[in-house]
């Protein structure tokens, strides 16, 4: 009986440790790197403006913005404009995975800035958008 009890407790502990989340400092790392590149600290209002700004692109998507896929309300599910695939909400208050990995944030800023605006975003743009998303 004693053996079983100890075993179950140990099993439980082993399972638990594998679910413990790594410390969440992706946002801090990126904010610092933007400032090292000369940006001021992020401004959520400027970020929101940029989020809603429309850029022109090649057909069939001649009007492009962050909203094209992520919608106006970051708490909603998005939908990939070309493939229709459902995208999880970007708002960290709804989706705890959002903004949790620096590598992922960098990747999507690079790809999505290029697709949406036609060029990479500046460090300031990224700091502002990050400040905006983080509040959601």
């Amino acid at each position: 009986m004693k053996i079983l009890l100890i075993s179950f407790i140990t099993t439980f502990l082993i399972m638990q440790t594998s679910f413990v989340r790594a410390e969440d400092n992706a946002i801090n790392i990126l904010e610092k790197s933007y400032q090292d590149q000369g940006a001021k600290s992020g401004n959520a209002q400027s970020g929101e403006k940029l989020w809603n700004k429309t850029f022109s692109g090649k057909a069939p998507f001649t009007e492009r913005s962050c909203k094209s896929c992520h919608t106006e309300n970051l708490k909603n599910n998005g939908e990939h404009i070309r493939t229709g695939k459902a995208l999880k909400p970007l708002a960290p208050s709804i989706n705890s995975v959002s903004l949790s990995k620096a590598k992922k944030i960098k990747k999507w800023f690079k790809r999505n800035c290029k697709w949406t605006t036609g060029k990479e975003c500046s460090a300031q743009d990224k700091a502002d958008i990050l400040a905006f998303i983080k509040q959601q």
Binding site: H80, T83, R111
Partner: protein
């Protein structure tokens, strides 16, 4: 606590933890799969990187030469930017090429390869003759004219087991239409 108690506890714990590994039915599943479909996606990195925007297509749906061509044009990936860092690029390329249709024993991979000539390098799965012929009887209104499908590239809109590499008829459910029998 006595030593025997500690040792017994460790052994029992080890048994509990390993049960799901020892008694899996992977072997049976793989046999069924080989005779029916294409290899299911086994790379977590590929799944993570390539299924954000679309289904993680099985590498067994195209020959290695096609995957190579697709991977060299990621900056303009069918109109989207899908750039990868060097390490991820290498890892995913290797996965795609070692599990490609021409390196696979799975039934549908072999059929796809037989439908291609040696100098064909299709850039889309839907351009391979086998896949094209398989879908040529389906009217446009069920694919292009169907908002929940849109394109033949959206395999899992109708093939409910596509993510597992299975494409047999009884797994088909066309949105707004239902089953499809040949």
């Amino acid at each position: 606590m006595k030593y025997p108690t500690i040792i017994s506890s460790i052994i029992v714990t080890a048994c509990i933890v390993t049960v799901p590994v020892v008694f899996s039915d992977d072997d049976r599943r793989e046999y069924r799969q080989r005779s029916l479909g294409v290899s299911p996606v086994s790379s977590p990195m590929y799944k993570e990187e390539c299924s954000s925007c679309h289904m993680a297509y099985s590498p067994g749906l195209l020959p290695a030469r096609s995957w190579k061509k697709i991977m060299t044009g990621l900056e303009n990936h069918f109109g989207d930017n899908a750039e990868l860092d060097a390490e991820t690029f290498k890892n995913i390329s290797e996965f795609l090429e070692t599990n490609s249709a021409d390196n696979s024993e799975y039934r549908r991979s072999r059929k796809i390869m037989r439908s291609l000539s040696d100098n064909d390098t299709p850039a889309r799965i839907s351009e391979t003759p086998y896949i094209r012929n398989k879908h040529d009887e389906i009217p446009d209104r069920l694919i292009k004219g169907n908002k929940k499908v849109n394109t033949l590239a959206n395999c899992n809109a109708c093939h409910t087991k596509a993510e597992q590499g299975l494409f047999s008829e009884h797994g088909i459910n066309i949105p707004g239409y239902g089953r499809w029998d040949d």
